[in-house]
Symmetry: D3
Amino acid sequence: MWIYEKKLEHPVKISCPDVAFAKLVITQYGGPDGELSASLRYLNQRYSMPFDNAKALLTDIGTEELAHMEMIAALVYKLTEGACPEDYQAAGWGGQYVQHDNGLFWTDANGIPWSAKYIAALGDPITDLVEDMAAEQKARATYEHLIQMTSDPCVKDMLRFLWEREVVHFQRFGEMLNTVQDWQAQKQHLWCGHRPPEEETEED
Amino acid sequence: MWIYEKKLEHPVKISCPDVAFAKLVITQYGGPDGELSASLRYLNQRYSMPFDNAKALLTDIGTEELAHMEMIAALVYKLTEGACPEDYQAAGWGGQYVQHDNGLFWTDANGIPWSAKYIAALGDPITDLVEDMAAEQKARATYEHLIQMTSDPCVKDMLRFLWEREVVHFQRFGEMLNTVQDWQAQKQHLWCGHRPPEEETEED
Amino acid sequence: MWIYEKKLEHPVKISCPDVAFAKLVITQYGGPDGELSASLRYLNQRYSMPFDNAKALLTDIGTEELAHMEMIAALVYKLTEGACPEDYQAAGWGGQYVQHDNGLFWTDANGIPWSAKYIAALGDPITDLVEDMAAEQKARATYEHLIQMTSDPCVKDMLRFLWEREVVHFQRFGEMLNTVQDWQAQKQHLWCGHRPPEEETEED
Amino acid sequence: MWIYEKKLEHPVKISCPDVAFAKLVITQYGGPDGELSASLRYLNQRYSMPFDNAKALLTDIGTEELAHMEMIAALVYKLTEGACPEDYQAAGWGGQYVQHDNGLFWTDANGIPWSAKYIAALGDPITDLVEDMAAEQKARATYEHLIQMTSDPCVKDMLRFLWEREVVHFQRFGEMLNTVQDWQAQKQHLWCGHRPPEEETEED
Amino acid sequence: MWIYEKKLEHPVKISCPDVAFAKLVITQYGGPDGELSASLRYLNQRYSMPFDNAKALLTDIGTEELAHMEMIAALVYKLTEGACPEDYQAAGWGGQYVQHDNGLFWTDANGIPWSAKYIAALGDPITDLVEDMAAEQKARATYEHLIQMTSDPCVKDMLRFLWEREVVHFQRFGEMLNTVQDWQAQKQHLWCGHRPPEEETEED
Amino acid sequence: MWIYEKKLEHPVKISCPDVAFAKLVITQYGGPDGELSASLRYLNQRYSMPFDNAKALLTDIGTEELAHMEMIAALVYKLTEGACPEDYQAAGWGGQYVQHDNGLFWTDANGIPWSAKYIAALGDPITDLVEDMAAEQKARATYEHLIQMTSDPCVKDMLRFLWEREVVHFQRFGEMLNTVQDWQAQKQHLWCGHRPPEEETEED
């Protein structure tokens, strides 16, 4: 279970509201490679990891991504604070105002609602960790695109913080992939997971 | 941000594995009226609530629903523990095994991946609280259907615990709806939200 | 069955075409909280209501929402009447022209096609009526947002008419909820629906 | 607008409940080629038809498809009348019971919620009428498959009635396609629709 | 199987980059009536055609549509070549840049990801061929809309080439429909497909 | 463009029809980690690769995946050859028969239509290649699950062939990832792609 602590993982500051950028950055809230995708992918996969360290890593990063999701939510709220309907319309985001007022919603930058089709869980630790590494790369690239599209130094700073965290997560998933591969090489008889298909027909 | 505490909100016990019931109960994990829907609905709405108590209520219940989601995950893992491919096939859930092995995924009982289209946020506190009350009713009814479909007393107990929490949440959202309505009646000039449409043309 | 009567429930007039507003108001045609959602939600639920008054209410309101859907369609056609491709492009709605010409389609303001994931039916009369009350609130809030985003007094008038109907429907669903709750309290032994889960294990 | 008349277009009788067949026939309620698809396709397209006869045809058939949708709803309710959770489970439709009780929902035979992605409207009368002819063929084929999958003569009768209506609609759309093509050949200068692309560059 | 030949079916030239038009024309890449829809519809249906000519026609056209899809991809790449983030933003396509950089994605002009819900396969040759004729009409109409929305003569030329191919495919599907209907009339006893439903009950 | 060669990449043989297994293996046709996903992912990404070898690799593998998709189609057709409606119903796949007869459709094992939400393209060569490696792992794991669920040695053989191809593709994408990383390290000034975000503010 989770305990909510009433603070953000990292402060969220902006120089001035910018509805047009809010429309873009929301993809990291509810888009294919955003923080919700990350959190739900990792928290879901942890049960099928073969040992405790791996489960713990997925729990830790999955929980941190929840905090990142909250930072992006705070960012979008600040970027749209005090915005009137005309501001949304001018930013090409009138549909957001009509459908959600100043509220948020789990969509990408085109307004597509989040779907679990964006993420995967194969129940195979090697596969799931490579999937997680790809997820971190996709989040990293998206943050790079976003950093290019704002000129607000406060926003750039905060997005760089999140960018750095994705790079760290990528490395940690890479290390765990090595650990799991070593463990599989050494202890395969104790693990009840998949064997190479060549061996399968003999036993089942 | 959230801190993970390594325990479940309530113990999850089963009498014996039951893949066929796992196929049904997964709707409370990733189905339209399940715990993910609940948590993401409330955590997303809290920013547009007009005062701190209301924000806190949505944060609290949203966080508790994360814990319920984890309980359902634990339940599904226990119900499928040690199940072999044939068990999945016999339960009409072979597709789950092929696509996710013994892992979980955010789907309903038919395998439909979770979609944010299931939930809503209108940015209007009255609307969002009535939506939340409906959500609790839908979760309650789903738990009643599930309780009817298992004969395992341990599982029934755990589902009843979750059923009770939905009833409590329904009441708490109902009380907050009253509070917000009173607040709107008394302090409408201070609140920057929507006015009755009759008054709108004068000012904009 | 339904008989088509060749008139609108309420006249639809506009002062002048406005493609940009058409792009927004289409969410009440095919968006999550629009008239199609309302109509299909109620018409679908009526069979599982426990007595005739409740069935009739859902049929009546579901049928009226079909008429509202037609009014919104007429509004969108008038707002786009005579518009050329450049007008669509200038309104940020070029994709609509390319994909549907001057025709309509069942989408929200971002072009997302309508999905039954937006609506619910739990087969439980209490739940379904609370869901319906939430639906009316969501439609009400959306009309308020739209009224803010047009300056055409004819369009405002027509949207206010629809807004008022949602308020009336909300009240009628609320009254029916009371009626069903009274009926359940008095006649629970005659009704074959769900009992409180505490009583269930004894009998099944 | 529509007036509801409290009778079915054609009587719906069954010999005995059959949950397994209800699970299949529901595709004509909320599946890709079902009655909802038909009705919403035609009612949406009518505004962009070039003359009144064509608009009226789409209104008439679209309204009749609403009545067919209601017949399918009545059929599914009768096929599941009195069914208990175990009956749903035995029919491989336990998810339906858990998520909707004895209620209906707009899905196909796999539980996929209805989506407007199933239908089309290009705003071009020739295109839309050919699309409508294809829709009638798809509904016809689906009814043939369903007739093969039930042995209940009452159900076969009712499905044959609907099958025949699809054949009639196909013919009527075909006749209207001829009419529109003739009209376009004779009156092309009066019609503001698309010209052959070869002529376009001169004028725009 | 397919062999890739490193050339386009028809040259793709543009006068100058035009991100705003790229945003529209992408619907022919990943939109409901685009080239991916066409190719996947035909390649999927060919197995259930009753004789070799029909299978071959679907294979040929399905393979050609792959080549058209590649031409559209090349067109979008050229239209966006050298575009910077600001160019995307100015064209109302900032979300594309953020989510895909200068890469492509299978979406319509609103950013909706491609879905197999757009296409159909009923396993009945008559039905599938009428569906295919409708598909060609829809693609034709979409090309007409696009030709209206660009003033670049090179782009118009290329789109006219594709437009003409759709017209040819429509005719070829129409001819095959006649062939299949004749074949069914003459050889119905040899074909194991559907019979008229009147005859069905006797035999099953 | 592509040339169709009328043979399969590898022969497809089965010992006897098996509708229940066809229902599972179809996920490699139209499911999240199937051959269509693979092909469309790679063919779409190739344009944003920074040099010709990388483009060619994606074209080659994307084209080979088309051939694998065709092998899976052939397998499903053979597994269902001669199956009557009752066989589909007995295999829990009655909905497939009703909606598609003996035809195929682009779905996963639960009947969910294919969606481009399953795949990604970030326009960043490192990201896209890691994504592709994850895709190959997911396909590999799915083939392992399928191999476990059939006892037909011919089918196992064919699936092992496809399994092996995924492993080879994984290695080839891994090698290309190294090549691209080396190239980026040596030639970063010549490449117009993303720079580390630390350097960005100076220049834009």
